[in-house]
Amino acid sequence: MLKHLLVSAAILSVSLTSASAETIRWARAGDSITMDPHAQNEGPTHTLSHQIYDSLLQRDMAGSIIPSLATEWTALPNNPSVWRFKLRQGVTFHDGAKFDSEDVVFSLNRAKADGSEMKELLSSVKEVRAVDAYTVDIETNGANPLLVNNLTNMFIMDKGWSESNNVMTPHDVAKGETNFATMNTNGTGAFMLVSRAVDEKTILKANPNYWGKDIYPNQVTEIIYTPIQSSATRVAALLSGEVDLIQDVPVQDLGRVESSSGLKLATAAQNRVIFLGVDTANGPTADLRVRQAMNIAINRDSIKKVVMRGQSDPTGVIMPPFVNGWTEDLNKYPKYDVKMAKDLMAQAGYSNGFDIVLNCPNDRYVNDEAICQAVVGMMAQIGINVTLDAKPKAQHFPIAKGGESDFYMLGWGVPTFDSHYIFNFLVHTQTENRGSWNPTGYSNADVDAMIVSLESETDLAKRDATIAKIWAEVQKAQMYLPIHNQVLNWGMRDNIEFDVQPEDQPHFQFLKFK
């Protein structure tokens, strides 16, 4: 009897440990730049921070906003420029310190400090106030109905820990500064940092006191994160079973991953649209008819089929489908029509075509250079002689942003999931604070005024009408030639249940094992 008990106890303990020790080995192309959660505004950096730190509210695996450290939030009915957040109680940081409103006030001010890359997202914030230990008010300059959209990557640090380790402000990455928080963390998140070697290996283990233990599956007990830059090696590591999950599966290997036994591929539309910008101020492309001709000379279906191997959603608007303001109608892309394009070129007086340089990145978007090569061929059909200039992103972006290019490729993700983000950067006239990514020369005072009005319009129906109006203007002006929305692919063991997150941000507390 005793023997029996012992054996079953042993079996039980074995099954328990195997169920409780679930390690996920995860690889993607790039590493996080810093563990300081406010020093960089960049995807892979936020992904790692999200495992360790929490924000007031966050996006779940489907992209919708859910409560995190704040349980409720609302704009005060009598004063729409103040948002009130009720904080979650009983939350502790990894070092055991209690989480309360003081930490929120401190963290948001830290994110607004010099050296922070998150400060633009908080530019409308006037003051952050603690009402009591678990209530915080954020006052904005004028009403900001979309404030919460800007808080999904705004991580909360412990004030006491930051004081004792002298990390009261973020380190300025561009100045080569570094601080204690670059390599050390103390968050409230589902995982705690165990060790980190930059570009090599980062190990996280489950936080035993995580507040979300009963809310999310929380089946992962350990994360081993290894950036693998070479895409062939990354896929090989998945195929050989050395890693369990990879992001950034190269399109040419999708079939390979899908057909391998024990592996599966999860696919979803990404929050990133790829398009070409055209100079509207000078040269032949200043003529609207030329831009229209170029737009219908792009064969989006064949780019999808040949270049992207089916892995893209062709679109007619520079807006991913998750974004507020997106409609089926806007998304419809024009019919590929060389004859009509040639007619338009002739009407514009360019029946013999012209020469233009297409600036293109070669290491930023999925098959970016190959898309540009395809466009070169398509433009040749209507007589436009395109010279392709493909460069690494570090060289490409200054060219594209600085207005030196008449024709360039750009991709755009919308972290706030609202059209205003697109307008503010890509449509507004290039000025000191706005339109920084609009080098096309497009400038329309009415549109600019409408864009600014979106920031304080609290009547959402009216706001949406204005958004629709601005989109109509953008579609008319055609300074951007949309190509497609990217599709995200994650490859993983087939015992993993994990949805592809539209921002390419895996949140491992949601992962389930079958």
Binding site: I33, V173, E177, D199, T226, A236, L239, A394
Partner: protein, 327 residues
């Protein structure tokens, strides 16, 4: 003898100063440090102040002298991306690259010399023909392709060896080593072969050619005629005489092994200085780029110097200064 050594040292210093000049020009002119440091919102006054503080308004030769002086103290500034002093960053990564380079060099020398001697002694045998024809693969295939092929075969298909990384490493405080763990040693195999294959075939062909040449010499015939054993003839009379060219090539190749580790490190996600350099290029991390250039230049110069000095040890004629005019 002393004069030869001094002359060699002087040459080495000149070369290093020249490499430092190129490295300095990159640092100073390719990326404007003021732009990188201040960002676009900076005012003209802030710019001027920083230019003064950095000494950018000093005469160019003074700036160069300062750069060299700081480089001598291993001060290359901070990495823009890694947010660490460049010297520290390189020191962190250097063990990985050196272990990889040394392992692949040992692999290349041992297998290169053995197969070279074997194919020279057993001319025309089946095995020789097989070795010679497969060695063509090593010479003609690009490194990254060999790496990917090895990964495909040994990691994906056979599942024997890891496809990326260094495995478990032991931290000795000033050095991290993969030599002390099983997974570390297993991780070394594929990258070392990838990196060393070209060198191995080169050494093999050189050894073979030299061996064939030496075996035709009169003194070898004499030794054979005197009835010495084959082993004695090959290893005591022939081998020492082929060592000079083999050492030269091996030494010079060690420099390129370190320099070209970039490709192997990228394919295998090997966390060495090569990977660091590639990332620095992506991020336009100028301090890291210029420090890396200096480091590789330094490695080449030191290795050449050591090879030259080894000549003196091995060849008594050089040591006596008899061939001074020809050196």
């Amino acid at each position: 003898m002393l004069i030869i050594i001094l002359r060699r040292l002087l040459q080495a210093v000149m070369v290093l100063l020249f490499v430092a000049l190129i490295s300095f020009l990159i640092f100073r002119f390719v990326g404007n440090p003021v732009e990188s440091l201040l960002g676009q919102e900076a005012t003209v006054a802030q710019r001027a102040a920083l230019e003064d503080a950095l000494g950018l308004n000093d005469p160019i030769y003074e700036q160069y002298a300062n750069f060299v002086w700081r480089a001598l103290q291993f001060d290359f500034g901070n990495s823009y991306r890694g947010a660490l002093p460049v010297a520290e960053l390189i020191a962190l990564r250097l063990p990985a690259t050196l272990e990889l380079a040394i392992t692949s060099a040992i692999f290349a020398v041992i297998f290169g010399v053995i197969t070279g001697i074997y194919t020279a002694i057993n001319r025309g045998s089946m095995m020789t023909n097989f070795i010679l024809s497969t060695s063509l693969v090593g010479v003609s295939l690009p490194t990254f392709l060999i790496g990917v092929l090895l990964i495909w075969l040994f990691s994906v298909e056979l599942n024997w060896l890891p496809s990326f990384g260094r495995g478990e490493v032991v931290d000795l405080g000033w050095w991290t080593t993969g030599y002390l763990t099983v997974s570390g040693l297993k991780s070394l195999i594929l990258p070392s072969i990838t990196l060393g294959l070209y060198q191995m075939t080169l050494i093999m062909r050189l050894t073979r050619a030299e061996m064939l040449e030496v075996l035709r010499q009169d003194y070898i015939r004499l030794a054979v005629a005197l009835g010495q054993s084959k082993r004695q003839v090959y290893f005591f009379h022939a081998l020492p005489n082929i060592l000079i060219p083999v050492i030269t090539i091996t030494g010079l190749q060690l420099g390129s092994v370190i320099a070209f580790a970039i490709i192997t490190e990228t394919v295998f996600q090997w966390p060495g200085v090569g990977l660091l350099f590639i990332n620095a290029v992506y991020f336009v991390d100028i301090p890291v780029m210029s420090a890396y250039l200096l480091l590789v230049g330094f490695a080449f110069v030191v290795i050449n110097l050591v090879v030259d000095l080894l000549y003196l040890l091995i060849d008594p004629r050089l040591r006596d200064g008899q061939l001074r005019k020809e050196v």
